[in-house]
Symmetry: none
Subunit: 259 residues, 2 copies
């Protein structure tokens, strides 16, 4: 006979709350607390477990095991070096500005390093960047569509270029495959290079965050000259002469983690 003082769903919600606050529940204790039989509680726990809302164990239940992201998300575990690059890069972002962020793990680190509460408009052609931003209610998000190059993790091609044509970001963080004072910024595919060139042309300022392995290397397709960058962020281990050479081109050079 149903207990008129508490509804079935209320009891489930209270059990769930207790799991959150106390980290575990015991069936016998719950039966006593709710003044129902332990069989009723076992049904409740079974129902919660079936719904993925608890982990059923002998004698009671534990909170549900946290679900990890996709394999790619796990692969994207951000290294400390990229975090330092990111922290140096986000200082370039003005609150309320419109920023474009490219695909790539360094750029994902940049987005993660941005203040969640500070309002801004984020534009991206990278689904992983956009998916991350879904957890930032204070931001405005604009997704550039098109055919997605799955290896690259970004939408490219005619549709993407057309979407881009309506946007002039204040600042664009562009990922590069190679960055050299003479060869400039370079990419692995023609479409990738073309899209990024257009982003750079439309943005008021352009920033690149360059890991050591991309510095002084040259991929097959030119994006833009090094001097086309407003800012370039380097690791502390980058060659100082290279940084100076790029600085002499009029680029604002920043060393991540430098005091």
């Amino acid at each position: 006979m149903p207990d008129p003082d508490i509804l079935h769903e209320e009891r489930l919600a209270l059990i769930e709350a207790k799991l959150s606050s106390e980290g575990r529940v015991l069936a016998a204790h719950l039966a006593s607390e709710f003044d129902v039989s332990v069989d009723t509680i076992r049904r409740d726990l079974r129902e919660l477990a079936a719904g993925g809302r608890c982990l059923r164990v002998y004698g009671g239940a534990l909170p549900p095991a946290p679900r990890t992201g996709t394999h790619q998300q796990r692969r994207m575990q951000l290294s400390e070096r990229k975090r330092l690059l990111a922290q140096a890069s986000v200082r370039l972002v003005e609150p309320g500005s419109v920023i474009f962020v490219d695909a790539g793990t360094t750029n994902l680190a940049i987005v993660a390093a941005l203040s969640p509460e500070s309002p801004l408009t984020l534009v991206t052609n990278a689904p992983a960047i956009a998916a991350f931003a879904l957890d930032r209610p204070a931001w405005r998000l604009i997704q550039i569509g098109g055919v997605v190059d799955i290896a690259l993790g970004a939408a490219l091609g005619a549709a993407a270029l057309r979407d881009l044509a309506a946007i002039s970001p204040d600042l664009a963080f562009i990922g590069v495959c190679g960055f050299d004072p003479i060869a400039g910024a370079t990419a692995h595919s023609l479409e990738e290079a073309e899209f990024k060139r257009q982003v750079a042309m439309r943005a008021r300022e352009v920033a690149v965050a360059v890991t050591d392995d991309k510095l002084l290397t040259q991929a097959p397709f030119p994006i833009f000259a090094a001097s086309a960058c407003s800012h370039a962020v380097f690791e502390t281990t980058a060659p100082r002469r290279t940084i100076d050479a790029i600085g002499e081109l009029g680029v604002n050079t920043i060393i991540a983690g430098a005091v």
Copy 2:
């Protein structure tokens, strides 16, 4: 015989107020309080539930479920029930076909349940869906761009509609906020409803996977009539009469997990 002391709409308003202030109502208590039969109260609660103004449960009602938590938190609630819905849904997908997948945790479960090796073209306006597909090298991915509604997790508006105009998917999995045999599929915002309606019009077939909490409920904005669906997938606990009523509209009804 109507009680002249209180009007029908007044009673509904008072019940709603009690839901707000007390967090729950019991049908038997309300019947006693308003001096009407419990059948009258059940009709009232049914009416409130149909309008999305309460959550009907055994013995009474709870306030309508608030849309709380970040997008990632809602994504993490990928329960066993949704997995069953997803497994039933993916059987509708032909290898090599072009499918559209909407935002939402049930739709994410559908994408996760698709065979990673079987080639297909995935079209979506949801960054989380697209980000997941980045782990599927055998697929072709087309991202629909536009301004992203962060709470919803999907790109909407004029740019999204324009991107959509160039695509006619073989099958579209559309998320609904409410699904009712009479009210049809409904959504929480005008732009969301408009976009989904366009998807449905352009797709050769339309499928909805409906969790119990969305069934027999009605959000404010109509998307399409229930009969406009080719397929509707339900949980095993969905009311059989409701499933039959939808089947009579010419919709192919599927019960997830049924043996």
